[in-house]
Amino acid sequence: MHWWLPLKASTFTGPIDGLFLAILIITGIAFVLVEVGLIWFVVKYRQRPGRKAFYTHGNTRAEVIWTTIPAVTMVALGLVSNHYWVQIKGRNSIPPNAYPIGIHAKQFEWQITYPGADGKLGTGDDFTVRNQLHVPVGRPIMVQLSSEDVIHSFYVPQFRVRQDVVPGMDIKAWFQATVPGTYELGCSQLCGLGHYRMRAQVFVQTQDDYDAWMKQAAQEASQ
């Protein structure tokens, strides 16, 4: 059990985890302020006989302060978030050299199409494997997502990447894995009664291992 965000295994983990931590600190301060304040008031100003409360309708300066501070913080947070958002999901965020992999989601499986030896999708040497996503490490991967039936969602927690797969739309997402290993790809959008079983293995391999695997898989697929 890892009581934090999952293992960091892609280039997105830096900005996303950093932002998460930053928000946690900001909200943590607000949280402590409010909860400690509440407990303090509850104890200090509890009813005592013969005492009357302080009669006031407010204090404009205090209100201006506690309106401005959250407002400034939120706008700043928005700007910082947007900076990373554009890098991760923005229209032109996909690196031009990204390696394409086609992912077709259907109830309840992932059909993953590899570009074959030529590195391009839509050519004759493409082949499709069910529920197994192999990716080379350290290289931007562009997944082209399509759906057969309902909305699914492509989610690898260790990569911090999530993208809904919407029928009728061709959606591209990208990520770059940094740590070789085996992970799980899950569907995170309710897609029917087998939703919880819509799972695939993700294998992050070195380029050599990946190439070897692809050669073998392509051969098996062509049989």
């Binding site: 309840f108 499986e109 069910r130 529920n131 079983r197 049989q223």
Partner: protein, 243 residues
């Protein structure tokens, strides 16, 4: 002749009722004519794709080699298995058969359906069994009947019945995309599926002229007309050509 047929039919109905009443799962109308035959296969045998069951170790362990798809199963003697043969027309309009009491079992074992093609009577129970103990869902893409989509997360049996004749109802498991089965729902018991030797048999037919149809999931349908008199056995062979 027609009168005779009607009488025979009435007799059959009576026998059927009796059989149902005594809860005999055996084919109801004993005696009568029989149509039997073989389904031959010509041409080149298509290569069926291999199924990668590595994500379901429980299923994979049930096979010695690598299991393949069951869309076309050609037997060793050059016949075609999994062909559904049934009486399409020729039964008197008044013909009615009560559903047998016993269920027809469809087993999910080793992430495959057993049998791959099966027939059932209207109103008869279909016992859908999960022997694998892993999640299967059973989606029946029925058109005339109520479609259903149920799941079985563990070893269990679910029962379903069909109200209307329908040839064929496609069954599939969406968790394991390769799992398909075909179900023929008929208002009478005169149907069969070609087995490991490619033969089928329709028993207990009253005298008359029948159109029988052979259905295969890939190669489509073929029909033949057979006239049966008395308790004779008539032969009707079919032949499907590989494409």
């Amino acid at each position: 002749m027609r009168k005779l047929g009607a009488m025979a039919a009435t007799g059959a109905v009576l026998a059927l009722t009796l059989a149902a009443w005594t809860r005999q799962p055996t084919p109801p109308a004993q005696g009568g004519g029989t149509i039997s035959g073989k389904v031959k296969f010509t041409g080149t045998k298509p290569v069926m794709p291999k199924i990668d069951m590595s994500e379901e170790p429980k299923c994979k362990a049930k096979y010695q080699g690598v299991p393949t798809d069951e869309t076309v199963v050609v037997n060793a003697n050059g016949t075609l298995a999994n062909v559904f043969v049934y009486v399409k027309s020729g039964l008197p309009a008044s013909y009615a058969a009560p559903a047998p009491a016993g269920p027809v079992t469809l087993d999910q074992d080793g992430c495959r359906y057993h049998p791959h093609v099966l027939g059932i009577q209207v109103g008869q129970a279909l016992a859908i069994k999960n022997s694998d103990g892993i999640l299967h869902n059973i989606k029946a893409k029925a058109k005339a009947n109520r479609p259903f989509n149920i799941s079985q997360p563990s070893v269990m049996t679910s029962n379903k019945t069909f109200d209307k004749p329908e040839v064929m109802v496609a069954l599939e498991c969406n968790v394991h995309g390769w799992m398909h089965a075909w179900l023929g729902v008929l208002p009478h018991p005169f149907f069969g599926v070609s087995g490991a030797d490619g033969s089928f048999m329709l028993k207990g037919l009253a005298p008359g002229t029948y159109t029988i149809e052979a259905w295969h999931e890939k190669y489509g349908t073929q029909t033949a007309t057979v006239t049966v008199a008395g308790s004779e056995t008539k032969t009707a062979d079919f032949s499907f050509a590989g494409k």
